[in-house]
């Protein structure tokens, strides 16, 4: 066999066998779960059978031998002579692991592993307690022959494998196919084995890694050499044909343009250019499609992971997968493989409880882990949901405090969302003890980083006792992304569209006064919320930020972006256009600059840098490392300036009195049935999110009398939170949210009123929240202080 063929065959064998073994695991697990049937048995038999046959033919004796031992056991299963017990399934899974290990060694070193797998071979042997286990006598059998030509048989055998050379391999003794063993002793095959070594090395790994290679799966997610199976994709032939056709058309269009540039026929040139544009777009889509793979490719290994982890931990877990066919670019598939596996392991380890605990808690003893993937708004959403115990946020906070990640005081003030975000901080692992399963040195922080690296985001929701849902949003592709092009300091920058929330343009007077300083940091009021600003010129040190004064002709462009789930504004000189850009990596000389994710080539041939939005935000300190929300004084009161628009929450008290508070002050809107109201002293309280929340009946307070609420069954409550404590304002009804500019008429007399204004054409009282709280529940501030 010539070298390049051998090399190619080994490569094919690797791809085929890795795929086959994944299928093997899947089907085997199906059998174990009682969804057996001869189909599955046939499939798993065929996988091992194929590996054995192919490995044998290209001179990989050890792989062949190992596969062979499994094949015998499986043929007994297939023929109904044995039943797939748990022990047999485990042994067969070990077989598939061992084969994978051998394939990995073959892939990275170019030669077969020397690991003997004696125990596994013995185990597979032992499990074959077939009814008629009398070993057949060892008879030399021919390798090939004709049915009509019985005389040919001995001659053919002798020609290839003289009987006295038959290798009495224990493995082959057990079954009556000694000719196969004898075959290994023949010279041509042996030559193939030696010849294969250097050739195969060139296929995969750098020759430098000639050190003994372990068969253990590479646990390190940052491993540099991708497996051959990872580097090969199967492409639908029709898809490739389409690409080829488009390339043909592209060449034609190019030729037209080239010939037209000499003649300079404007009309023809325009037509050709348009044509070129259309073809390029189509080609781009087509090529991208060939790179798309179903997410099921990654999920395929999860039934096995779930089984193993659950078994290790003595838990019962049912895995449900939906949307396996959802397609993603293969680079993304690669990138999410490890984070997803980690999350799945985590869910079983920390999420789903032991069967005893589940039964005691009134749940089914079998936990449910569900994976769901679907498209939404040009992105792919992956949800990992478990019905386990959820995450105890108090414990998370305690842990973060004990690890000095936050102070006890910060912990006390944290909202639920902020506490959840703690899970993603480096150095925080919620497991009380490091278990085999999740104690692998990777935390949720790494998961988050890896997902953000590919432009994705991760969000976690948990309910104590009910379970946890992780929601991962990822872009469809990395190679070509839509981006907003901006200009600043004379240079163009591309901002990935996924991070873009909106664009704000301030002109004239607004440009002069729109940007305010809060403790020295520039902010802009966006619909009543303070948006931290970063001047790109200042941050990148290309030009001063807001150094000079702004004139009437000046325009301020704010690109509102989202980093780490928090919005911020990037002030740029000019906003250009949205474009599809091709992402190219930066050289290692520039890797250390966190503000840039890469570079791209613009239409004019010049290079533009792609901004890394999260990196930029951190560089500019607009998203803090610890997610402490600054309590800003500015937004807790009404703005005096009459030309400021502000978002207001409108409500009624005591029937028809119109009142408003700044929307930013309303943490939540809730309804409580009257039955939930309890009393401490002479105050009304409700239990709310693990706290006792005092209620203030705004109507009673403002009017000084007793107001009967409209709905006697339940109370409408506006929740205000500060420093981790909440207070509820009871109102008659919540009416509307408006954004208006208004003029406040102050009046001194009102209890808890800041004044009144005309909002939506009606006189509306403006509630002075701090004053109201101070008067109604003085203890609220006393405790906090």
């Amino acid at each position: 066999m010539n070298e390049s063929l051998q090399q190619e065959l080994v490569k094919d064998l690797l791809v085929e066998s890795y795929e086959g073994l994944d299928l093997f695991d899947r089907e085997l697990l199906g059998i174990e779960q009682g969804q057996g049937g001869s189909d599955r048995l046939n499939i798993i038999f065929r996988v091992i059978h194929t590996i054995k046959g192919t490995a044998g033919c290209i001179g990989l004796g050890r792989i062949e031998k190992l596969a062979h031992s499994g094949e015998n056991l499986m043929s007994l299963l297939r023929d109904g002579k044995l039943v797939a017990t748990g022990e047999i399934v485990s042994a067969l899974l070990s077989l598939s692991d061992a084969l994978r290990g051998m394939l990995r060694v073959l892939e990275s070193t170019g030669s077969e592993s020397t690991v003997e797998h004696t125990d596994l071979l013995a185990q597979l042997e032992r499990l074959q307690i077939a009814p008629s286990a009398t070993p057949a006598p060892v008879v030399a059998k021919p390798t090939y022959g004709l049915f009509d030509d019985e005389d040919d048989l001995p001659a053919a055998a002798a020609a290839v494998a003289p009987i006295d050379e038959i290798h009495a391999d224990a493995e082959y003794d057990a079954e009556n196919e000694p000719a196969a063993a004898a075959h290994h002793e023949t010279a041509p095959t042996a030559a193939v084995i030696t010849a294969s070594a250097p050739v195969v090395a060139a296929v995969a790994a750098p020759a430098a890694s000639r050190a003994p290679v372990s068969e253990a799966p590479a646990a390190d997610p940052s491993r540099s050499t991708a497996s051959v199976a990872d580097n090969a994709i199967r492409v639908d032939i029709t898809q490739l044909d389409k690409v080829m056709n488009l390339v043909g058309e592209l060449v034609l269009a190019r030729n037209q343009i080239v010939s037209n540039t000499t003649v300079f026929d404007q009309a023809a040139l325009t037509t050709a250019a348009q044509r070129l544009n259309i073809i390029t777009t189509e080609l781009q889509e087509s090529v991208m499609k060939t790179r798309m793979q179903p997410i099921g490719n990654v999920w395929a290994k999860f039934p096995r992971v779930v089984r193993d982890v659950a078994k290790d931990l003595g838990k019962k877990v049912r895995l449900v997968m939906q949307g396996q066919t959802t397609e993603l670019d293969r680079t993304i598939i690669e990138a999410i493989k490890d984070p997803l596996t980690h999350i799945v392991r985590n869910s079983i380890d920390h999420g789903i409880e032991s069967p005893e605990r589940r039964t005691a808690g009134g749940k089914a003893d079998e936990g449910l882990l569900s994976l769901r993937a679907f498209h939404e708004g040009g992105q792919v959403i992956i949800e990992i949901m478990d019905d386990g115990n959820g995450i105890d946020l108090e414990r998370v906070k305690a842990k973060a405090v004990s690890k000095n990640l936050i102070t006890a005081e910060q912990a006390g003030r944290m909202t639920e969302r902020e506490a959840i975000n703690l899970i993603f901080l480096p150095g925080l692992s919620t497991a009380e003890k490091i278990s085999n399963v999740s104690g692998r040195g990777v935390g949720m922080d790494v998961v988050k980083t890896n997902i953000e690296k590919i432009g994705g985001s991760i969000d976690l929701q948990t309910q104590c006792g009910q379970g946890t849902t992780l929601r991962i949003k990822i872009p469809l592709t990395l190679a070509i992304i839509p981006a907003l092009i901006v200009t600043s300091g004379g240079a163009r920058y591309a901002i990935p569209q996924v991070s873009l929330l909106e664009l704000v343009r301030l002109e004239g007077a607004t440009a002069r006064t729109g940007i305010e300083k809060l403790c020295g940091a520039p902010v802009y009021r966006l619909r009543g919320n303070l948006l931290p600003l970063a001047f790109i010129n200042e941050q990148l040190r290309t030009a001063p930020g807001l150094g000079r004064s702004i004139g009437d002709d000046d325009v301020i462009n704010i690109v509102v972006l989202q980093a780490d789930g928090r919005p911020f504004g990037m002030v740029v000189d000019e906003i250009n256009d949205t474009e599809e850009i091709v992402v190219k990596p930066l050289g290692k000389q520039l890797k250390g600059i966190s503000c840039f994710a890469g570079a791209t080539i613009m239409g004019d041939g010049r290079v533009a840098l792609i901004l890394d939005v999260v990196g930029f935000a951190q560089h500019a300190h607009v998203v803090a490392e610890t997610r402490e929300r600054p309590v800003d004084v500015a937004k807790t009161s009404f703005v005096a300036d009459c030309d400021k628009r502000q978002s207001l929450l409108l409500f009624n008290v005591g029937g028809k009195r119109r009142m408003a508070i700044p929307l930013a002050l309303a943490a939540r809107l809730e309804e409580f049935p009257l039955s939930q109201i309890e009393h401490t002293g002479d105050s009304e309280v409700v239990q709310y999110r693990g706290q006792i929340m005092p209620l203030i009946r705004v109507g009673n307070y403002i009017t000084g009398g007793k107001v009967v609420e409209a709905d006697p069954e339940k109370l409408s409550v506006v929740v205000y939170s500060e420093n981790g404590r909440s207070v509820g304002f009871v109102v008659s009804s919540i009416n509307d949210i408006v954004e208006e500019a208004f003029e406040v008429q102050r009046h001194a007399s009102g209890r808890g009123l800041a004044g009144s204004a005309v909002v939506q054409g009606h006189v509306t009282d403006l509630l002075d929240v701090p004053a109201l709280i101070r008067n109604a529940t003085p203890s609220f501030y006393a405790v906090a202080a």
Partner: protein, 122 residues
């Protein structure tokens, strides 16, 4: 003399090896991934020899042999079975179905060419 040979195997690596060996020996080679595919390939083409794997999805080698034998055009075409089966019953089933010969996997290129030479007189 160059012959046209169809190789049928669901394992791409095996198929490739058989095809390469035969092409190297100067034959024209057609490929099919299972019995159904083979029947499709043979719909409008005649071949001098069919080399088929036994164990394949959709339609196995024995069924393929049976079906080919039922077609007048392939009643006499030599059919060689590739097998790793230790089970003689399977081989006999192949014989009953009308196969011409067999070769046990693993085999090397010389062995393959030897059996091909046997069934295809030059």
């Amino acid at each position: 003399m160059s012959k046209r040979i169809l190789t049928v195997d669901d394992a791409a690596t095996m198929r490739k090896m058989v095809a390469f060996t035969l092409k190297d020996a100067g034959h024209e080679v057609l490929e099919a991934v299972d019995g159904c595919d083979a029947l499709n390939v043979l719909k409008d083409r005649a071949v001098d020899l069919v080399i088929t794997d036994l164990n394949m999805p959709n339609m196995d080698g024995i069924e393929l042999t049976r079906q080919l034998r039922a077609l007048p055009a392939f009643a006499r075409t030599p059919i060689i079975l590739l097998t790793t089966e230790s089970d003689p019953a399977k081989k006999m089933a192949g014989r009953t179905a009308g196969a011409t010969g067999w070769i046990v996997k693993p085999f090397n290129q010389e062995q393959l060419l030897a059996i091909v030479a046997k069934v295809l007189p030059a």
